[in-house]
Every structure is written in structure tokens, then in C-alpha cells.
């Protein structure tokens, strides 16, 4: 299942939030060699890991293992596309109450094959459920173009915000993803399940 972690309930998830930052360091810094800040030598934490950030955490049943996570930021506040990569948008950075940004989507490095697929699927459906519950119509994201086909193959309806550009040796582009109730139906059908994945109890407390 997927927990919604906001500034209000973050104290209840402090262990799992630390585990997320640790896994993010292993994935984005150690494996993918991104040039981003590391805190205390083991946590990947940047300026956008602040009180406005909402995390979706895929955890095991006992809530003791981080299986995957994603960081969601409101486009009306500082965020990666708006503050670091605005040049990727041809017609300005999309901003609005109904537009949020997806960053740091990852699955725990120890997961293999089917387990990793499950964690990714839970997060994908979790992001759609979160969007529908919170009145979000569009997600934006910055993506390496080599991942583009895999992202779209999940079923996201993507549109480019500008042409891909080469930055620091990687070809990256900004995308906007449209979310509708049909997106949820499609994703659940593809994954082969009907139940919601967000922990509803956690949402009430996170609000």
C-alpha cells in the first residue's frame, strides 16, 4: 500500500522518510551519478525536500521497509522545473493549483523483477489516486529522454513542454501528464486490480 506523507504527519513516518532518503542516495547519487547534494554522507536531500513536499511512500505491510517513493511538489511553490530547469519549457513553466510536479520517483535498490514492478505499479496508481483526491489535473516532470518510452508505456498521457535538450551530458525534456478519472480506470485494468492503493486513514491525518 502507499502512504501519503505531508508536513503534518511526517513525524509518524520519520524512520521510513530516512529510509527513502537513504535509498534515493543509493539510486540517484551512487548508481545514476547525479550531481545532487548528499547530507551526512548517506541521505539524498535537496532544497525541495521542504514542508511543501508531499511524499507517496510504498511500504511493506509492517511499514518497516521502504519499497519505493515519489516526491510531489505544488507548481505554485519552488520546484525543480520552475527553479532549476525552466529553460526546458518553450511557453513558460506551467503553474497552478491543479498542477503538481513529480520528482525522485524510485524503487528500493534491493527489489528485483516482479517486486520492483509491483512497487512501481503501486506508486503509479497512487499518483493517479492522489491527483484525483487532491484536484490535480496535470503533473509536470523533467525526464531523461531514454526513459520516455518506458514512462509512456505505463499508460501516462504525456505532452512535451519543449524540445529535448542536452544538459550535463544527458538529453532531458520537460513533460506534462494529463490525469483524468479514465487514467485511474486504465491503470487499474493494466495492473489487474480494482482496489485503491492509498492508505485512506493516512490521507485523513495528512490533510
Amino acid at each position: 500500500m502507499v502512504d501519503v506523507v505531508t508536513a503534518n504527519n511526517r513525524h509518524k513516518f520519520s524512520g521510513m522518510v530516512d529510509a527513502m532518503h537513504t535509498d534515493r542516495k543509493r539510486i540517484f547519487v551512487d548508481s545514476l551519478k547525479w550531481d545532487i547534494p548528499v547530507v551526512d554522507g548517506k541521505f539524498e536531500i535537496d532544497q525541495f525536500d521542504n514542508a511543501d513536499a508531499v511524499y507517496l511512500l510504498a511500504l511493506d505491510a509492517k511499514k518497516e521497509t521502504h519499497l519505493g517513493s515519489v516526491r510531489l511538489l505544488p507548481s505554485t511553490k519552488p520546484h525543480l522545473l520552475g527553479d532549476v530547469f525552466p529553460m526546458l519549457c518553450d511557453q513558460g513553466v506551467p503553474r497552478g493549483e491543479d498542477i503538481w510536479e513529480i520528482t525522485r520517483l524510485c524503487t528500493a535498490p534491493h527489489l528485483r523483477g516482479r517486486e520492483a514492478w509491483l512497487a512501481r505499479s503501486y506508486l503509479a496508481v497512487g499518483m493517479v489516486e492522489f491527483a484525483l483526491l487532491y484536484g490535480i489535473n496535470k503533473y509536470t516532470c523533467v525526464a531523461e529522454t531514454s526513459w520516455l518510452s518506458s514512462i509512456m508505456a505505463v499508460g501516462w498521457e504525456c505532452e512535451p513542454l519543449g524540445l529535448p535538450q542536452e544538459l550535463n551530458g544527458e538529453t532531458v525534456g520537460a513533460l506534462v501528464i494529463n490525469i483524468t478519472p479514465a487514467t485511474l480506470q486504465l491503470f487499474r485494468m493494466k495492473m489487474g486490480w480494482r482496489h485503491p492503493v492509498l492508505e485512506l486513514d493516512a490521507i485523513a491525518k495528512a490533510a
Binding site: G113, T145, S150, P160
Partner: protein
């Protein structure tokens, strides 16, 4: 209209198409706006030997497509082979840098010119658990590849392929199949463990010892897993589980 707007317009329309002919028409127009003459949008499989959810859409000079059919160029097309070596797009001039060309492949590149093709630009399409595919844009003989259009062509290629992929999957689903994700066989945790160890070259006896279960139980897990995939041998089982990403290569190499 700027190139970006061309691409955005293309993507909006491609996201809405309901059949493959609409995509063909849409691409024919966009390809020319980008400064190319031809295109091919294909999964890298032999179309005559494969059924089902395969993308196969092109607009190339007939002289070339006839030659490809007659000589069976599909099997070792150097551009397709180069796609296996590259996550990012490349021009045909880059191909010798990506792979070592065989004599036959050098002939193919020469034959393409004779058949009326100039340069080309290819976007490899890699989706886990699916055949590799590509979207290629090409100019007619005597015209240079329009370098300024390449970032736009990159996106048009990626989005066009995804649009085609969705149409093909929808058609397959209508024919009685289910969507790909749901149709994929699933292994139980224990079957998965056994398949991983078998993939690392262990015998049933070894696997039984490692997992602390009876030889016969291991045998049963392997048999059940084979049944789920509808295959006859352990080798087929491992290959299929790798192919649909239930297994990762990393699982087998630890």
C-alpha cells in the same frame, strides 16, 4: 509554426488517434514539415513469423521495401542492430561507430542509396518486456538529414511509436485478449526463487538445499511455473521470465 509547436500539435493529435491509418496520415504530413521524406515505425521482429501486438508502419520508396522483403534485410538490418547498442537516437552516419558492420550490412547501406534513400535518423524504442522497436526518418537520395530538426524528430518518433503501440494493443484486446499487463503470467514467490536459482545454473537438488525444501517440491514449483508460461523446458521458462521482466539479469548474476 515553430518546430516545438509542430511537435506539440503532433503529440496532441497522436494521443487522440483511434486507428493506425490516422497515424500514417499524420506522420506523412509531420515528417515532411520536419524536412524528411520517409519514415518507418517498427518493432524489430520478423513480421511474417510473429503475430499479435506488433507495430509495423512505414512510408518508404517501393524499390527499397521490395528489396528488404526479397533479401530478408529485416533480420540483420544494421540500423536495428545499432538500436540494441543505443538508448539515444542516432543518424545513419553514426551506425559504424555503434556496431561493427558485416559485409552484408555494408551492402545494405549501399543498396539503400541505390533504392533512393539519402540519410536517416533513428530513435530506438526500449520498453521493458517488449521487443525493441524504432522510429526512423529518412531523406531521399541527394538530400541531407535536416540537423536542426533532430530534437523535434526525436520526440515525434517517441510519441508516434507510443501512439501506434496503444492502437495495436487496443486492437489485440478487442480481439479477445486482455491488456498486456493483465495477461502476463505471474509466478509465486517460491516459483520465482526456484526460477532464479535455476537461471544461475543450479540443479533441483542444489535448489532444494539452498531453499531448505524437498527436491520433489522444487520439481513441482518448476513444473507449475512452466505451466503458467505454457512452455516445455527450463530454458524457455527462464528466457520468458527474463523477457517479460519478472526476472532481471541482475537476479541471475548475483
Amino acid at each position: 509554426m515553430s518546430l516545438v509547436q509542430n511537435v506539440q500539435e503532433f503529440v496532441r493529435e497522436a494521443n487522440r488517434i483511434s486507428d493506425i491509418k490516422e497515424l500514417q496520415v499524420l506522420l506523412e504530413g509531420t515528417v515532411r514539415e520536419l524536412g524528411f521524406d520517409y519514415f518507418a515505425l517498427v518493432h524489430h521482429v520478423n513480421i511474417y513469423q510473429t503475430r499479435g501486438e506488433v507495430v509495423y508502419l512505414f512510408d518508404f520508396p517501393p524499390a527499397w521495401t521490395e528489396l528488404v522483403d526479397r533479401k530478408g534485410y529485416f533480420t540483420d538490418d544494421p540500423v536495428h542492430v545499432a538500436c540494441q547498442k543505443s538508448a539515444t537516437p542516432f543518424t545513419w552516419a553514426d551506425v559504424p561507430r555503434l556496431i561493427t558492420l558485416t559485409t552484408r550490412q555494408e551492402e545494405m547501406l549501399q543498396a539503400a542509396k541505390t533504392a533512393g534513400l539519402g540519410g536517416g535518423f533513428t530513435v530506438p524504442i526500449h520498453v521493458p518486456g517488449e521487443y525493441t522497436g524504432s522510429c526512423t526518418f529518412s531523406t531521399r537520395f541527394g538530400r541531407e538529414v535536416p540537423l536542426a530538426s533532430l530534437p523535434a524528430a526525436h520526440y515525434v518518433g517517441s510519441f508516434a511509436f507510443e501512439a501506434a503501440r496503444r492502437v495495436v494493443q487496443r486492437m489485440a484486446a478487442k480481439k479477445g485478449g486482455r491488456l498486456k499487463g493483465a495477461a502476463r503470467p505471474k509466478l509465486t514467490r517460491r516459483q520465482f526463487d526456484c526460477v532464479v536459482l535455476a537461471g544461475r545454473g543450479k540443479s533441483d537438488k542444489d535448489i532444494a538445499q539452498i531453499l531448505g525444501i524437498a527436491d520433489q517440491t522444487v520439481h513441482q514449483h518448476m513444473e507449475d511455473a512452466k505451466r503458467r508460461y505454457d512452455v516445455a523446458t527450463r530454458m524457455q521458462l527462464i528466457v520468458r521470465a527474463l523477457f517479460d521482466s519478472q526476472l532481471a539479469f541482475a537476479d541471475l548474476m548475483n
